[in-house]
Amino acid sequence: MGMTMTQKILAAHANLPSVSAGQLIEADLDLVLGNDITSPVAIHEIEKMKVDGVFHKDKIALVMDHFAPNKDIKSAEHCKCVREFACKNEISNYFDVGKMGIEHALLPEQGLTVAGDVIIGADSHTCTYGALGAFSTGVGSTDMAAGMATGKAWFKVPSAIKFNIVGKPAKWISGKDVILHIIGMIGVDGALYKSMEFVGEGIQYLTMDDRFTIANMAIEAGGKNGIFPVDDLTRAYMKEHSKRPFTEYEADPDAEYDEEYTIDLSTLKSTVSFPHLPENTKTIDEVGDVKIDQVVIGSCTNGRMDDLRIAAEILKGKKVAEGLRVIVIPATQKIYLQAMEEGLLRTFIEAGAIVSTPTCGPCLGGYMGVLAAGERCVSTTNRNFVGRMGHVDSEVYLASPAVAAASAVTGKISGPEEVMD
């Protein structure tokens, strides 16, 4: 029986000729990631292990992004703990304020993740790197500690769901609409324990940033990983950002899938997830009149250049609706600088939005945009659980940067067509 793309990468990293779904394996890791929330717990665990330091100082990435620049004393203590660990173990990929960005935008940009890699990260959105044709998945802090100590992790080889992407999307339809549509279709546990493998001719119309967004939210369908085949666009991205060699894998023609779906991009409409689950999706023509208090454009899901360009195109020459707060967060320093050079930051500020230094802050209700009781936010982030962005009685509506920017102009959930000629 043939293997899926994911299974081939796992087999190669377990030094096995083949693997099959359900098999327990131990795989070599190319990168182990942690942030300022999960790393302190991992560091506490690694100190209990009978090991001499870390397995490889260049294959660990520690990114201070969640509550950094530090929002309070306790967060500062956490970052200090990680900083000291990084220094003591000479971790080469330690990213602190000034160098840091939101981890899942930063690592591909820094060339630390390439096709064929096996990557674990103590952050659930580690699945983002599947956009490059890597196997990457979120784990907890103890797995991160074990990964840092041994360079290995155990996995149950996943079965897979195949998504055949066809057609060409209409203007304003982006990766976010694709993945929200899929989650609405299969549910928040629709891919539980499984790989989500994306294939098909429609992928040529998805930019790298679209693919990062789609792979990023595989976890919101319960998926173990999301993965794209490697094409010319992927190769060009990796050559631009990384000096590391990469390996291209593709699924065998006779690979088995638990389920197969066809997604016709030409039929997709702007899609919004209503509170309090990402699966509660409505297309823009179904949303009705939902007044909002805040808009967030950013995060590991949608804080990249494409996202900011789309938002700026819509906000250019317009004003944020009266009484609305709009927060724009470029995901990395490089993106921040690029957005500045392209004049996007001026567009946002003149429209009445604020532009923040890179941080995960508002996405998880940490800081930089926490909501009060009864408030509603349209956000380009990835979760709209109860209390996710603040008070338990606040609401988050997940949407694309185009919908977020249009909503910023009207003060209610709106599609881009409503504000663009």
């Binding site: 327990l24 929330i37 999960t38 302190p40 717990v41 506490h44 665990e45 209990k48 292990m49 009978k50 090991v51 969640h66 509550f67 929002k71 309070d72 306790k74 967060s75 956490h78 990260g121 103590a122 952050d123 659930s124 580690t126 979120g138 784990v139 907890g140 802090s141 103890t142 797995d143 500690a145 074990a146 100590a149 041994t150 155990w154 149950k156 928040v188 546990d189 539980l192 324990y193 976890i219 319960g222 173990k224 689950l277 998880l364 209700g365 940490g366 926490v370 979760r383 659980f385 109860v386 209390g387 996710r388 338990v392």
Partner: protein, 162 residues
């Protein structure tokens, strides 16, 4: 191996890690402190009512969302002896095994056991007994490899003993 015995707190589908331990408390990694906010955004009374040994029963996809290990840590530190669910989200599942919080997948038990029932769980056999109703259920056994990690008391001890 040890068994669990306690009264049940019952929840529904898709209990996410944000309601188990909200991010506003993630500036701490102290289990005792995390335990004081456990389940706060889904059940404000949980921390006042929970007793050592009590059991959480929930439906599908328990622990979905963030990878924060603080979630199973807060549940364990609150005194919960076992979580029974129809299914668990995969990162929560790994984390629970890694930190030594016993979890059992059993759709029938998850459906039928009611809040406040007195329940016993035998981890060796996977048998769940609802003492209140007298019904028993067979929970799914762990693969031997995972059982080894659990028997060692978590991943750190497992690696230390290898």
């Amino acid at each position: 191996m040890q068994a669990a015995h306690g009264s049940v707190f019952k929840y529904g589908d898709n209990v996410d890690t944000d309601v188990i331990i909200p991010a506003r408390y993630l500036n701490s990694s102290d289990p005792k402190e995390l335990a004081t906010h456990c389940m706060e955004d889904i059940d404000k009374e949980f921390v006042n009512k929970v007793k050592e040994g009590d059991i959480i029963v929930a439906n599908k996809n328990f622990g979905c969302g963030s990878s924060r290990e603080h979630a199973p840590i807060s549940i364990k530190a609150a005194g919960v002896s076992c979580v029974i669910a129809e299914t668990f989200a995969r990162i929560f599942y790994r984390n629970s095994i890694n930190i030594g919080l016993p979890i059992v997948e059993c759709p029938q038990a998850a459906k039928e056991i009611a809040a406040g029932d007195e329940v016993k769980v035998d981890f060796d056999s996977g048998v769940i007994t609802d003492v209140t109703t007298g019904k028993t259920y067979q929970g799914q056994a762990f693969p031997p490899f995972m059982q080894k990690i659990i028997d060692c008391g978590g991943l750190v001890n497992y690696i230390n003993q290898k």
